[in-house]
Symmetry: C2
Subunit: 501 residues, 2 copies
C-alpha cells in the first residue's frame, strides 16, 4: 500500500470510513469526486448515511449539501438519499431514489451547467466548503492526489474545502497515472487564456496539487465504479445513427468538413454508441473527441485506429471495457486525456476546436426549443449535464432522440417544449429515426415543416393541426402559437396517459 | 476627399449609390455594417429600395437577405422594408416597419446570438455572400477600411463577399481612426486563443485589412447615425438602479467583489443609464466595461474619471453625445476600444474577464426563465442581441425590468415564460423596482417566493394562486407547474387586454 500512499505522514491518517465520517457535520457543504458513475467515493457515502440514520433515530437533524462532478452510483447518491442525508444536490444526478426525492419535494436539486459549477464554487456563490471527499489512484510522495477514473470538480472542491478526505481505491489501475491533465485557470481577476488548440494538447500536471496538511483522513477501498453494460444496438438507434452520418457526409459535400476533421462530442447512451459503431465503417479518419465522457464506442474507435485522441473528464464504460481499461491503461493513456470538467466543458476551448455536438433530449418543439431535463415541465430526470456547454459553443449542435416513447404514448416532437434547456437560438439539427431537421439559417416558421417531418407519423397530423390553429389564433406570426392549447400534448399525457389524448 | 479615400485606384471607383446598387441582385446574401443605429450604410439601402420598387412595378421579384451587426435605422432597414426588399433578416432588428413584416408573416427573421453570426458566416452555413456594404471613416493608402462608429460583423462580411461596396461618410470623425481594434480569429481548423486578459487590451489593427480588388464601388455620404435622445430618468428606473447598486454592494460585503474590480456589461436603455448615473456617486472606482455598446452614461463615467476603459463594438449615443464623440474622438480613443462583435461578445473573453451582465427582459417566470424576445410567445420585438453571449458566461448575470407595463395590464413576472431565451440554468439575479431576487444556489422551488416578492403587488396573489395550484396539480414537485393554466396570464392579455383577466 505504500505505493498507493507514498507520503509518509499521510499513512498515519489512514482510518476507516466510519472514523473519517466524524469530519462531516449536519449542514456541511461537501464536494465529492465522481462523474457518470466513475471515480466517486465508495466508502464515505455509506458511512455518512449511517451517521445520518443514527442522528435521525436520536431525533437530530442531519443532512448535507452534496456537490459532485456529475452522477454517481447507488453506493453514493443512492445510500445517502435512502438515509435522507441530502438536503441540496448539484449539478447532476441520475440516481432514481434521489430523483424521487427531488420530485416529491423532500430534497432540493439545482441543475447547473457542468462547466459552471466549479467556477461558481471558486466565485464563492455557495459560501464555505467544509469537506472534500476525493477518490484517488494514489497519493504521491509530495502528498499530491492522482485522481482515478474521473477528474470532475476535484480541483475546485479541494481548493475550497477546509478538510480533505482521500479514498485510495486499489481497484483503480495505477497505470491511470499519466492519463490526467490537471490544469487550473487562475481565479478572478487573474484568469488567463487556456492554451489548448487541439483536443489532445496536454497543458497541466498528472496529479492534483494539494496542501497535504488539509488531508484529515485517508480511507482505503477496493471497489469497482458503477459500470453498466450497454444494450445491444436496436433498429431505431441504428436508423438515427445513419441519419447522423448522413449529416456528416452532407457537411463534407458542402465543403464545411473534411473526412479527417471531425471532432466529436457525444452524450452517453445507445444512440451515440450506434453512431460510433457506424463510424467504424465510414470514411472518417483521424477522429478526435473533445467531450466529457469516454464510452465503449470510443474505445472501439481508438482500437480500430479511427480515433486518434479523446479528451474527457471521466469514463462511462461497460464492466468488460472497464476491466480492459484497467488492464491496458498504460496503452490507452497515449490517446486519452482526462481533464477537470471546467476544462473538458469550457466554452473557450469548445468554441476554439470546432466540434460537432450530439446530445440526447426529452422533447423538441416545432421551433427547435429543446427540453433535456423535465418531463411534462415538472418532473426532473437527470439534468442538463454538459449539453448546454457543448451545444452553445459547437461548430454544429445536434440533438438526437427516438421520435416516440412508451409505445407511442409520448412524442419527442411537441407544439411547445414543457421545459426549455436549449433555445431556438442554439439548436441547429434535430435527428430522429425519420431523418434530420436542419434548422440552420431558418426563421421559426421555416422550421415547422422540417420538424413535423421527423415526428412519428401518428403525431404528424396533430402537429399540423396545432400549427394551423396557431397561425389562425390571431397572435403574431413570427413564432405562431396558440397558447391556450400549446401544452395539450402534455395535459393529455397527464390526464389520459397518452399525448394523443 | 483624398484624405478620406487615400487609395488612388479606388478614387476611380467613386460613384453614386444608385450606380452602386447595380451590384445587388434579387436573392443576394448582403452583409452590411451597422450596430444599434451606428455605422450602418446611409445611401445604398435607399438605392436598393428604389431598385426593388422598380422591379416590383415591372412584375419582377426582388428581395435580398440582409445580414448586419445588429439594428440599423429607418434609412436602412426601414426603407428596405417599406419597399418589400427584404426576404430574410438576421441577427437583430429594432425597426418597427420591418418588425411588422416579421409578425404579419411577409418577411423572415432569424434571431441569432450576436457572437454567433460571424462564426456561422465563416463556417459557410449561409452559402456565398454576393456583396458587403460597409460604412467607413476612410480608405487607407493601402486600400484598407477604417470602420466608422461600429465594427459589427464587417470583417466576416468583407471576407465572405465577392464584392465590397464602401460608403465613406464624412459625418464620421477622422479621429475615430485609432479607436478600433480589429482582430480576427483564424478560421477552423486553426483557431487560436484570443489574447485579451483585460477589457482595454489592444490586440489587432486600427483598420480592416481588405483585398482592394474586391472593392467595386465607393460611395460618398455625409449623414448622421440614428442617435436618439434618452428619456429623462423616471422614478422606476432610479429604483431599479438602486437595487442593482445594492446587489453590487452586497457582493463587496460578501468578499466577492472589490470597489475597483467591477467590470460592466450593460444593455441599452433608461434603466442602464440610471445605473450609470447611480455609479457616478458610488464608491466604485476604476470601472471597466466589456460590453457591446457605448452609451451616454459610460461617457459620463469616463469624463468623471470613474470608468477607466470601455470595450464595445459600437455606439448608441444621444445626438448631443454623438456630436461630443465626433469632436473629441482623439481624446476618447484613449479609453474606448471598438472591436468586431465576434470579439466584443466572445464567450472566451467574457468568461475570462469576469464581468457582471445586466440586460433587459420582456418577462421572467417564477423559476427564473427569461423571455427577451417574443411578446405572448409569438410577436417578436427586437431580438436576443448579445444578452445570451453575456448572460451565459458572466461572473454574475442579472436581468432588469419594471415589474409591469401598459398601466399594469402586463406583468413582467409570469407563471411560465411564453418564450424562453435564457434558461433557469443561466439567469442569476432578477431586478424590478421592488427589489432583487438572487437565484444563485437555489433549487427551482426556492426561487418562487423570491420572484413573487419582486412582482407588482397586483400580481402577487395571482402568482401565489398559480404556484399553489401547480403544487397540487399532481405532477412532480421539482418544478411545479399546472400546464393547463400556465399561460393564463398571456391568454387573458390576448383575450381581454389585461393579464389579470
Amino acid at each position: 500500500m505504500s505505493e498507493r500512499i507514498a507520503h509518509a505522514e499521510l499513512q498515519s491518517k489512514v482510518m476507516t470510513a466510519d472514523e473519517a465520517a466524524q469530519f462531516i457535520n449536519n449542514g456541511d457543504n461537501v464536494g465529492m469526486s465522481g462523474f457518470t458513475g466513475a471515480g466517486y467515493p465508495k466508502a464515505l457515502p455509506t458511512a455518512i448515511a449511517n451517521k445520518a440514520k443514527e442522528a435521525h433515530e436520536r431525533g437530530e437533524e442531519f443532512a448535507i449539501n452534496v456537490f459532485t462532478g456529475a452522477s454517481t452510483a447507488p453506493d453514493c447518491d443512492g445510500v445517502m438519499a435512502e438515509a435522507n442525508a441530502i438536503n441540496y444536490r448539484t449539478p447532476y444526478n441520475s440516481d432514481p431514489g434521489l430523483r424521487g426525492q427531488f420530485n416529491d419535494g423532500t430534497a432540493r436539486y439545482q441543475d447547473i451547467h457542468l462547466s459552471h459549477l466549479g467556477l461558481q464554487v471558486e466565485q464563492g456563490f455557495f459560501g464555505d466548503f467544509q469537506v472534500a471527499i476525493i477518490e484517488a489512484v494514489r497519493i504521491t510522495e509530495e502528498g499530491h492526489i492522482v485522481p482515478s477514473s474521473a477528474v470532475g470538480n476535484n480541483v475546485e472542491y479541494i481548493n475550497a474545502a477546509d478538510k480533505v478526505i482521500v479514498e485510495v481505491n486499489e481497484w483503480q489501475s495505477l497505470d491511470l497515472e499519466g492519463m490526467h491533465d490537471v490544469y487550473k485557470v487562475p481565479n478572478l481577476p487573474n484568469r488567463t487564456p487556456i492554451p489548448i488548440q487541439n483536443p489532445g494538447d496536454r497543458i497541466g500536471t498528472t496529479y492534483i496539487p494539494v496542501d497535504s496538511s488539509k488531508i484529515v483522513a485517508v480511507v482505503k477501498t477496493n471497489a469497482p465504479d458503477r459500470n453498466a453494460p450497454f444494450k445491444p444496438l436496436d433498429e431505431t438507434s441504428k436508423q438515427i445513427a445513419g441519419h447522423f452520418l448522413d449529416l456528416l457526409e452532407g457537411e463534407v459535400r458542402a465543403g464545411r468538413l473534411a473526412y479527417d476533421q471531425y471532432i466529436m462530442q457525444s452524450g452517453v447512451g445507445n444512440v451515440p454508441n450506434a453512431v460510433m459503431n457506424g463510424l467504424l465503417d465510414s470514411k472518417f479518419e483521424n477522429i478526435q473527441a473533445y467531450t466529457e465522457v469516454i464510452q465503449d464506442g470510443m474505445i472501439d474507435l481508438i482500437d480500430a485506429g479511427k480515433m486518434t485522441v479523446a479528451s474527457a473528464t471521466s469514463f462511462a464504460l461497460s464492466p468488460e471495457y472497464a476491466d480492459k481499461m484497467n488492464d491496458e491503461a498504460a496503452r490507452y493513456r497515449e490517446s486519452i486525456v482526462l481533464r477537470p470538467q471546467q476544462i473538458s466543458n469550457h466554452p473557450e476551448v469548445i468554441r476554439r476546436v470546432g466540434l460537432i455536438a450530439t446530445n440526447g433530449m426529452i422533447e423538441a418543439d416545432i421551433y427547435g426549443n429543446i427540453n433535456s431535463t423535465n418531463v411534462t415541465g415538472s418532473k426532473v430526470m437527470n439534468g442538463i449535464g454538459g449539453s448546454g456547454d457543448f451545444t452553445r459553443n459547437a461548430f454544429i449542435s445536434s440533438f438526437i432522440s427516438p421520435s416516440q416513447a412508451k409505445d407511442g404514448a409520448i412524442s419527442a416532437i411537441v407544439p411547445f417544449a414543457s421545459h426549455i434547456d436549449h433555445t431556438e437560438h442554439d439548436a441547429m439539427v434535430i435527428i430522429t429515426e425519420y431523418g434530420y431537421a436542419d434548422l440552420r439559417g431558418t426563421a421559426p416558421r421555416d422550421r415547422v415543416k422540417k420538424m413535423i417531418s421527423i415526428a412519428h407519423p401518428d403525431y404528424r397530423p396533430l402537429l399540423e393541426e396545432y400549427y394551423e390553429r396557431a397561425t389562425k389564433a390571431g397572435n403574431a406570426l413570427h413564432t405562431p402559437h396558440d397558447l391556450a392549447t400549446a401544452f395539450q400534448f402534455h395535459t393529455n399525457f397527464l390526464e389520459k396517459g397518452d399525448m394523443r389524448g
